[in-house]
């Protein structure tokens, strides 16, 4: 059961070995590795190509949030081992961003809990993504997603 936010890359094999070492109750280990994908925001538009991104986080709050969601996952599923390693800082296309690993006696629980954690990380963890394209830098969600996001926050305000 561990959560880490770090700038450095991680070694997937070594992390998984440490996670499962000495635990003979784990039958299935579900793992997710998120990578920086080179993509075109609008297909064919060269200037939209994402070559790298910078992830900003909120030191202190991010770790707290990750620990809370890990605790929540452990309540919902019978888990023997969980690990979240999330990088911040600048990463180029092809680099690893995040590792989520969940070990359980049963593979269904491992898969479900892993997906739960990944979905949650994508929307509820305090990270902000700055994309680098040939046309310059752009904060993700600062344009297209704004209305929807604003509505969500306004609702809470009311």
């Amino acid at each position: 059961m561990a959560v880490r936010v770090q700038e450095a890359d991680f070694d997937v094999g070594a992390e998984l070995d440490r996670l499962t070492a000495g635990n003979r109750k784990i039958g299935g280990l579900a793992v997710f590795v998120g990578l920086v994908r080179e993509m075109h925001v609008r297909e064919g538009y060269h200037k939209d190509r994402v070559d790298a991104l910078t992830l900003e986080h909120y030191p202190g709050m991010t770790e707290k949030a990750l620990e809370e969601i890990e605790t929540e996952a452990k309540k919902r599923w019978p888990l023997e081992a969980t690990l979240i390693v999330h990088r911040h800082g600048r990463m180029e296309a092809g680099e690893r961003i995040v590792l989520v690993a969940v070990g359980s006696p049963h593979r269904e629980a491992a898969f479900e809990a892993c997906e739960f954690l990944v979905d949650w990380l994508k929307t509820k963890a305090p990270f902000w993504k700055l994309e680098e394209t040939p046309a310059g830098e752009k904060w993700v969600g600062a344009t297209a997603g704004d209305d929807k996001a604003a509505a969500r926050w306004e609702k809470k305000k009311a």
Binding site: M61, K64, L121, G141, D146, D147, R152, W153
Partner: protein, 83 residues
């Protein structure tokens, strides 16, 4: 009280964080937003009515009706887009 800004809000406001001493009648996160808007055009733009941002009080997500009493750190940030 320390106020922190993240992602594009940090650039719009012009500083990543600042120490502020709001008057006693600034009781909630919403009150603080209104009060901060007067500090500079950057503040006014970043914290504008209807802008897409959220808040945290002492590193826990907070809605605008949350009380500030005893808070040491308040943060404002755009919707999370990471992971």
């Amino acid at each position: 009280m320390k106020v922190r800004y993240f992602a594009w809000m940090k650039r719009t406001v012009g500083v990543p964080e600042e120490e502020v001493s709001p008057p006693a009648d600034i009781a909630t996160v919403g009150d603080l937003v209104t009060w901060l808007r007067a500090r500079s055009p950057g503040h006014a733009e970043a914290l504008a009515e209807g802008a897409a941002f959220g808040a945290a009080v002492d590193q826990r997500t907070a809605t605008f009706d949350v009380k500030l009493a005893g808070a040491r750190e308040v943060a404002f940030f755009p919707p999370f887009t990471g992971g």
